[in-house]
């Protein structure tokens, strides 16, 4: 039985160096990752492309009025796909923030469900138990304690699973982040914390979010390891997450991974970054963005050529287009959904409200 006495405290301050795997195609060479096959590297590419295409099409749909305001995750695919790739979908849980709204498509969630969510349609609701996937977390950081509780609860059952929680740089200022990480550390929970440090919380730059030199430094305060990776390097994210997952499964508790990069796109479709920052840096970062960077790596390895890359993109486009057609064919939602999903058995006073709103009972709720 794990007890406080038997946990070794992480020694020393976290390493501030930002880990990279993929080289720059010029002066800094690529590193090789062990224990990952060519097939796996290409499957990872397909995951990234699916996310990228989903996001690009979603922004288009929003402009056309076909979905509502949308939180753009362009440039975050390395963090999302790289971390997710290390998990076992049969045992491991994922808790997304709204930035990772589509991560479920990497573990069998229909993209139509995610699009329905952004359209405000109840078909966008999913049962977390079905895909081991928390709901898209709208409030900031509040999902960190949920992930901690799942991880803790899995350990208590002797289950081999672990939990992955995503959150941003801004989230590390919220109390829920602190309480969730602390709980996970004290309970020795198999939790992997992925901090998406893209430098911005809407218009608040990281320097106004924290005085810490690195967000990974906070790990020392919780007695857990902290690691910094280049958030635009999918293999660096994968490598660090893989190590953290292994530690979690071995009963060594949580790890905080800070994935450092730059939010190239606006925060959301309603956001105009020109109001608060210079475009120049964003454009520089765009030229090194994570998907093109990974495709460069795969080309250097001789694993991907342009026609294969195009084929992958076309397939992803068709998947997303089909999903959107399906969503737009959905009938208007049943107003009963307003009333029938809050309690297992609705109290009498709620049934009366339902009757007032909808007329006499059109089929009692189950």
């Amino acid at each position: 039985m794990n007890t406080i006495e038997s946990i070794e405290v992480a020694a020393g301050a976290p390493d501030r160096a930002i880990r990279r795997v993929i080289g720059d195609g010029a002066t800094r060479p690529d590193r090789q990752l062990d224990a990952i096959s060519s097939e796996a590297l290409l499957a990872l590419h397909r995951d990234m492309v699916l996310l990228r295409v989903f996001d690009e099409r979603a922004v288009g749909y929003q402009r056309q009025g076909r979905i509502g305001t949308y939180a753009i995750f362009w440039g975050h695919e390395a963090i999302q796909a790289g971390a997710h790739f290390t998990l076992c979908a049969d045992t491991d849980w994922v808790f997304p923030s709204y930035r990772e709204s589509a991560i479920g498509v990497l573990r069998g969630l229909d993209p139509a469900t995610v699009l329905a969510w952004w359209r405000g349609h109840p078909a966008g609701w999913w049962n977390p138990l079905e895909h081991r996937l928390g709901a898209i977390a709208v409030p900031i950081a509040s999902q960190v304690p949920h992930a901690a509780g799942v991880a803790w609860g899995l350990r208590l059952r002797g289950d081999p699973g672990c939990a992955l929680a995503f959150f941003g740089d801004g989230a590390t200022s919220e109390g829920a982040f602190h309480e969730g990480v602390n709980f996970a550390a004290v309970m020795n929970a198999p939790l992997v914390l992925i901090c998406n440090n893209n430098g911005w919380a809407i218009s608040t730059p990281i320097e106004r979010q924290t005085r810490a030199a690195a967000l990974a430094d906070k790990a020392l305060g919780y007695g857990i390891p902290g690691v910094r990776v280049d958030g635009a390097d999918v293999l660096a994210v994968l490598e660090a997450t893989r190590e953290a997952v292994a530690r979690a499964r071995a009963g060594e508790g949580p790890t905080l991974i800070e994935a450092v990069h730059y939010r190239i796109a606006p925060h959301a479709t309603a956001d105009d970054p020109r109001l608060y920052r210079d475009d120049e840096r964003a454009e520089q970062e765009r030229s090194r963005e994570c998907l093109a960077r990974y495709e460069g790596y795969l080309q250097r390895q001789g694993l991907l050529d342009e026609s294969a890359a195009r084929g992958t993109r076309e397939h992803a486009s068709e998947v997303v287009r089909r999903a959107m057609r399906e969503v737009e064919r959905l009938p208007d939602p049943d107003p009963a959904a307003v009333f029938d999903t809050t309690y297992a058995v609705p109290p009498a006073e709620l049934l009366r409200q339902r009757e007032l709103a909808l007329g006499p009972a059109r089929g009692a709720p189950a």
Partner: protein, 323 residues
């Protein structure tokens, strides 16, 4: 014969024995058995991983309880005192009441949140609050408030077994005040059923928690004047036993609602609205509310100015008779 603390302790032992997914958690609940000793003996019997001493972090406690539910646990979270639940209000409103809805009605959150509540114990600020209205007002949450040891055991069993989240408020002034008969072994009182604590014909006193006793004292005072007051113990605020509420209101036509919580938008306002909507023509007088005031709960040397008393309740009944 058991005190309120002993009855609740009995319920916890019984439920943890009956269902090994029940997990008790909170500050000081394990090794020391809780500051009021409500969780005494649980860690010795069931181990430190089923009766868990948590870090001092109420939002973290309730947030991790959400996660525990997702992987098959049935957490019973103790908030050490009423007001200590306030840091957890965000998780309660934002997630605990909402996650079933967010999953399209498919996922349950069978968490019970229990806390000592209410005044009359001469304690510093934020140890004598009545926060029940925040919970009732939160969609997806149920609220149960026992007034005596036997009901505490039965209602807590129902709360723990409920697939939906239940906030269970324990009137701390009654924790050790009396011993009463409590059924041994299995004892379950469904949520949503009120109880007539005292029969009467001239007026209806509607109360819950520690105020049931005070209402009964008021009824005894009125008895001496030839006024027969019924006392209805609501037991559950949500789901509310509207049938019992309306029947008791109609049977006397004079209603006095009593609660410790501040007056404005307190639960009495909701009861009054329901009675006005559905039993208006059976009333002989306006509905009276005897409540705390719209102020922070006073320094304890003044708490008797604030708390509803038998005399204040009796005066309210007299007003309905003179109307």
């Amino acid at each position: 014969m058991r005190t309120l603390v002993e009855a609740i302790n009995d319920a916890l032992h019984h439920e943890m024995e009956r269902d090994d997914s029940v997990l008790v958690m909170g500050e000081d609940v394990g090794r020391s058995g809780g500051v009021f000793r409500v969780t005494a003996g649980l860690q010795e019997r069931f181990g430190a991983e089923r009766c868990v001493d948590t870090p001092l972090a109420e939002a973290g406690m309730l947030g991790t309880a959400v996660g525990l539910c997702m992987v098959g646990w049935r957490p019973v979270v103790e908030m050490q005192y009423d007001a200590f639940s306030y840091p957890a209000l965000d998780q309660l409103i934002t997630h605990v009441g909402r996650y079933r809805w967010r999953s399209g009605g498919k996922m349950a959150l069978p968490v019970t949140i229990r806390m000592p509540y209410g005044g009359g114990v001469r304690a510093p600020e934020l140890h004598e609050e009545s926060p029940e209205t925040y919970y009732v007002h939160t969609p997806g949450i149920k609220v149960a408030i026992p007034s005596n040891p036997a009901d505490a055991k039965g209602l807590l069993a129902a709360a723990i077994r409920d697939p939906d989240p239940v906030v269970f408020l324990e009137p701390k002034v009654l924790y050790r005040s009396d011993r009463e008969a409590v059924p041994e072994g299995e004892h379950h009182i469904p949520l949503g059923r009120a109880r007539v604590a005292r029969d009467g014909t001239d007026a209806t006193l509607i109360a819950y928690g520690a105020m049931v006793r005070v209402a009964c004292e008021a009824a005894a005072l009125l008895d001496a004047e030839g006024v027969s007051a019924m006392v209805l113990d609501l037991r559950t605020l949500r789901p509310l036993d509207e049938d019992a509420l309306l029947e008791s209101a109609r049977s006397t036509g004079r209603v006095v609602i009593i609660h410790e919580a501040p007056r404005t938008a307190g639960f009495g306002a909701e009861i009054a609205a329901i009675i006005a909507e559905r039993a208006l023509l059976d009333l002989h007088a306006p509905i009276e509310r005897v409540t705390g005031y719209d102020v922070p709960f006073p320094h304890w040397r003044l708490e008797d100015v604030y708390l509803p008393s038998a005399e204040r309740i009796a005066n309210a009944v007299r007003r309905t008779l003179e109307y």
